[in-house]
Symmetry: C2
Subunit: 203 residues, 2 copies
DNA sequence: GCGTCAACTGGACTCACGGTACAGTGGGGG
DNA sequence: CCCCCACTGTACCGTGAGTCCAGTTGACGC
């Protein structure tokens, strides 16, 4: 027993799976309560409305995603202490991870939320925004470290380059989803990796 | 008078504006008919359901987008006959165009549709898919031309590189939308342009 | 053993929205 | 003069979100 909020997290599990597969609007509370084997009243006991569910899902998703990046680049750092090579290894690991996802992809909740944001309140929108800003900061920091050692061959805005990691992942997932192919996202990440190789490799 | 389908295109105008601002689900038929000053019956006379509306919107959007790319790269070609420089100019023009959009962005319908695709039928999904495949083909063709003259410094899959144009635009628009900033999409395109410069520039 | 509180169940209800059906209408063309 | 296209207007249905609330069940403190 995981304590008092056993049901709550079960709801989140079911909801997340359904939302990633079909989108937020297409997921009814009815099917969530059926999947979680609770009553409608039970659902609204935990979440005052669908918006509260979205927020909780997003919070959890962002936390998991951040932990994933932490882990990924920590492993990369173990393999190579140089920030540039660490970055290259980390991106490779990320690409491999996306490829291994059996269902194809987790289908980033961020993009999904961004394009339906009028369904949600300011809290959800802000959460989304802060997540991306967090990734910007994370990757910008890594690129700064790299740039100190390897002078970039072309001048680039490091904030924008940091955003590009998120952007390439998001964009790749959109392609993957729309094309119904399997490794567009990982392919896009590998292309981005090639970019970094060209950008930071010494002349 | 533009002919028999005056009202139909007015509906599409209103709907497109609303959908780009708020998303498809958040746009009610009620508000569309109010905006277009017609009756509900009138709406369903032109579109059998919301799905038909989505399909028509997507068709029109893709057509406009393709015409835009045609025009953009035709203008670029006038300025420079070399395929590589033409590409660089075209991307610059694209970035400038995105920046000039007063409201910030058109908010790509493709990504929006991709993430809510369970609301739509196979026709809509296929339309979406074909649009992206069309862009892949277009840009792949251009990159092939370039690669014939300028040998890439690193080996890249040209299909994936073609997809990257769409991906960077889509991803940039997602960032822009989520961050509520103004030129993320154009910044991302310019970064991609730098990528191409590094990739194809002679040693 | 008794009360109480959290975590529900279940049912009745409202409202918004998508969608159907269909009868009627006005105006331009043959 | 009639017909038909492009609607209007109204009535109606189903679904799903969200509200309200009365009642149940089981763990825990006393």
């Amino acid at each position: 027993m995981t304590g008092k909020t056993d049901t709550r997290s079960r709801i989140l599990d079911i909801a997340e799976a359904a939302v990633l597969e079909k989108g937020f609007e297409a997921t009814s509370i009815e099917e969530i309560v059926a999947g979680a084997e609770i009553s409608r009243g039970g659902f609204f006991y935990h979440f005052k409305d669908k918006n509260a569910l979205a927020r909780a899902m997003l919070e959890r998703y962002i936390e998991v995603e951040n932990a994933l990046y932490d882990d990924l680049f920590a492993r990369a750092r173990e393999l190579n202490d140089d920030p540039f090579h660490c970055m290259l290894i980390g991106l490779k690991l990320l690409a491999e991870m996306l490829e291994e996802m059996p269902t194809g992809h987790p289908g980033c909740v961020i993009a999904s939320t961004a394009y339906q944001d009028r369904l949600f309140d300011d809290g959800v929108r802000e959460l989304n925004r802060q997540a991306i800003l967090g990734w910007r900061k994370r990757f910008r920091g890594m690129f700064e470290e790299i740039a100190e050692i390897y002078e970039p061959r072309e001048e680039v805005n490091l904030d924008a380059l940091g955003d590009m990691v998120s952007g390439v992942v998001e964009g790749g997932l959109v392609l993957q989803r729309a094309l119904r192919e399997h490794n567009n996202a990982s392919e896009q990440i590998m292309l981005f990796r090639t970019y970094l190789k060209l950008l930071f490799s010494p002349k």
